[in-house]
């Protein structure tokens, strides 16, 4: 399979997935480009232990999480230099909520929900995005996350609990269920 075929088959999926992580079209486009650069570079060593679809999903998830981490550390360094902020309190907060998939009348509500999702640990965040936004079934999500269905279900239940805490108390400092 060549990169063109792979691009046209999976670009929409990769773009939409990264959009759920960063909630910003510019960042999602950058992540999509980086994902296909990685796919191109790693395609010769792809061993078909999983399906191509699952493999591309995993690359897209890792790339999105790495992008967020890189952006966080860049901002943290900047603000630490100026105000000496405590880095534990720092979290990913997109400057602009520009999610084209969210309808205008739901923008405020969805922004609050995404704010809470952004505060979840990586695996929990991924389980919510794949199950509830991308609409994947449990077995597929478990395969993408390289977990068994039971373990993935447990991750999702913790995510649900944490989301509830975060949404009930806006700036909650309650300890997360890791």
């Amino acid at each position: 399979m060549d990169i063109e075929t792979i691009y046209f088959e999976y670009s929409s999926m990769v773009y939409n997935l990264s959009l759920q992580y960063v909630q910003n079209t510019e960042d999602a486009e950058e992540i999509t480009q980086d994902v296909f650069v990685k796919v191109y570079q790693k395609l010769p060593s792809f061993q078909e232990k999983s399906s191509l679809r699952t493999w591309v999903y995993r690359i897209a998830i890792n790339q999105s999480l790495d992008f967020i981490k890189a952006k966080q550390s860049l901002k943290r360094r900047f603000w630490l230099n100026i105000f000496s902020l405590n880095d534990e309190k720092y979290r990913f907060d997109p400057v602009d909520f520009q999610h084209p998939g969210v309808e205008l009348e739901q923008k405020e509500a969805c922004k609050r929900i995404f704010d809470a999702i952004n505060q979840l640990p990586d695996k929990q965040k991924t389980s919510v995005i794949l199950l509830k936004i991308m609409g994947k079934d449990r077995a597929e999500v478990a395969e993408i996350m390289n977990l068994n269905v039971k373990a993935m279900e447990s991750v999702f239940q913790r995510a649900k609990k944490n989301l509830e805490v975060l949404l009930n108390k806006n700036n909650s400092h309650e300890k997360f269920v890791q």
Binding site: I3, Y7, F8, S11, S12, Y15, N16, L19, Q20, T25, E29, T32, Q33, D34, F36, V37, Y40, Q41, H99, P100, G101, V102, E103, Q106, A109, C110, I113, V128, K132, I133, G135, K160, L163, E164, L167, N168
Partner: protein
């Protein structure tokens, strides 16, 4: 209490499932191909490694030359002929 929190989470997941899938920008494929082309060149990592190796080589050369020069300077007193004081001793 439990019911209201269940209701809250149901509303949250309903809102999330209403998020629509959007097509990527048509120009994105061209940009991706350009990025792939750029990635085909020599990576920054290898350029840095080569630069570091070159600097190391030049440093070693410089050190060797200076050491050789110092050795030559150290040999100077041995090369200079000793003054023959024989006449004065007579």
């Amino acid at each position: 209490m439990k019911n209201s929190s269940n209701e809250l989470m149901e509303n949250v997941f309903d809102a999330l499932s209403s998020v629509k899938s959007v097509p990527p920008n048509g120009d994105l494929y061209r940009k991706t191909l350009m990025k792939i082309e750029c990635s085909r060149g020599v990576s920054v990592y290898w350029v840095r490694t080569a630069a570091a190796a070159l600097l190391l080589f030049l440093g070693a050369e410089l050190y060797a030359v200076l050491r050789l020069q110092n050795q030559k300077n150290g040999d100077v007193p041995l090369i200079v002929c000793e003054t023959n004081n024989q006449l004065y001793h007579e």
